[in-house]
Amino acid sequence: MVKITVMVYTTLRARLGFSRTELEGGTVHELLLKLAVSGMTDISKMLFEDDGAVRNHFVLTLNSELLDNRKTKKVKVKAGDILHVFPPVSGG
């Protein structure tokens, strides 16, 4: 278990009540499970499909590299990593 920084955007930010947090975990999936219950409101339903996969409109990056939403259980994190979670935005 290592501590990493998680940054969230747009609607996630509004629901969680923060834009940045530090969480502990071994894989990206573990971190996202913790993220979902770490804010003002529980965003599990917003973040995950019923089968537990990360909803496919969210983009995940670990240290600025894009991740595959279906493989988050396999991606191990190391201390100091930065995970970003963001959806596309469309305002203009």
Partner: protein
């Protein structure tokens, strides 16, 4: 083609920018750009491109000016409520730089009208305000081989990317799925589209002049915290837009 005395003076402050100069100015003059959307992003992009001396500017938007536009669409006037935005913008841009050729298009871009339209422009700026239009534009640009300068905002956050047509990655590679439709309007404080629009214009100018630009990257700007996050885009082999072409 040498610049007239008027032009030399008008563009004097950008002619001294390393990488622009007379050669860049000539490229700008010969360039044509289609700006999709005449809202908070589009108006800013157009203003900077017209001011910079881009030779020909097309801009498409079906809308009429509404009171709720005016917190961010600062190139319109309160007295013009209810009038076609592309016409108003054409008049604003003509006053700003009479030498630029303006092609206002009062229409909603779709898969049918985009294909012939893209043939007439060298480069496209995505300044629309909805996902359907954005993904339609992405697809049409990949097919037509046009670079797409993507800008979008949500509250005090913005996204900027340059999507190069050949070989991807395209917008659909980054965002393969649309998010669920939100209730109500997108929050839009004026300076956010102002800043992202200005950055889109900068990318367009750099691309035309052959300067280093954001190709293949997406940058998320967080104006709420003064931070930026740059992501290297990756091609999705299974992308339905840019993937099949190469394989087939």
């Amino acid at each position: 083609m040498p610049l007239s005395r008027q032009e030399s003076e008008r563009y004097s402050r950008q002619l001294i920018v390393p990488g622009i100069g007379l050669r860049g100015q000539a490229k700008l003059k010969n360039a044509s750009v289609l700006v999709a959307g005449a809202g908070g992003l589009g108006g800013v992009v157009l203003a900077y491109l017209a001011a910079a001396g881009v030779g020909r500017l097309g801009f498409a938007d079906p809308g009429l000016l509404e009171l709720s536009n005016l917190n961010r669409q600062i190139f319109y006037k309160t007295r013009d409520l209810g009038r076609a935005k592309v016409r108003l913008l054409a008049s604003f841009l003509k006053d700003l730089n009479p030498r630029v050729r303006l092609e206002p298009l009062r229409l909603k871009l779709d898969s049918e009208n985009l294909a012939p339209l893209l043939k007439k422009y060298g480069l496209v700026a995505d300044c629309t305000d909805n996902f359907e239009a954005r993904f339609e534009l992405n697809k049409a640009c990949v097919r037509a081989g046009r670079t797409l300068v993507h800008g979008a905002v949500y509250g005090f956050e913005g996204q900027l990317a340059v999507i190069a047509p050949r070989g991807g990655p395209c917008l659909k590679c980054v965002f393969p799925h649309m998010p669920p439709r939100l209730k109500g309007y997108t929050p839009a404080p004026g300076p956010a589209p102002g800043a992202i629009g200005a950055m889109q214009a900068a990318e367009v100018i750099k691309i035309i002049c052959g300067l280093p630009h954001l190709r293949g990257r997406l940058v998320i700007y967080d104006f709420a915290h003064g931070a930026a996050h740059s992501v290297r885009l990756k091609r999705r082999r299974a992308c339905g837009v840019c993937g099949k072409r190469d394989e087939g």
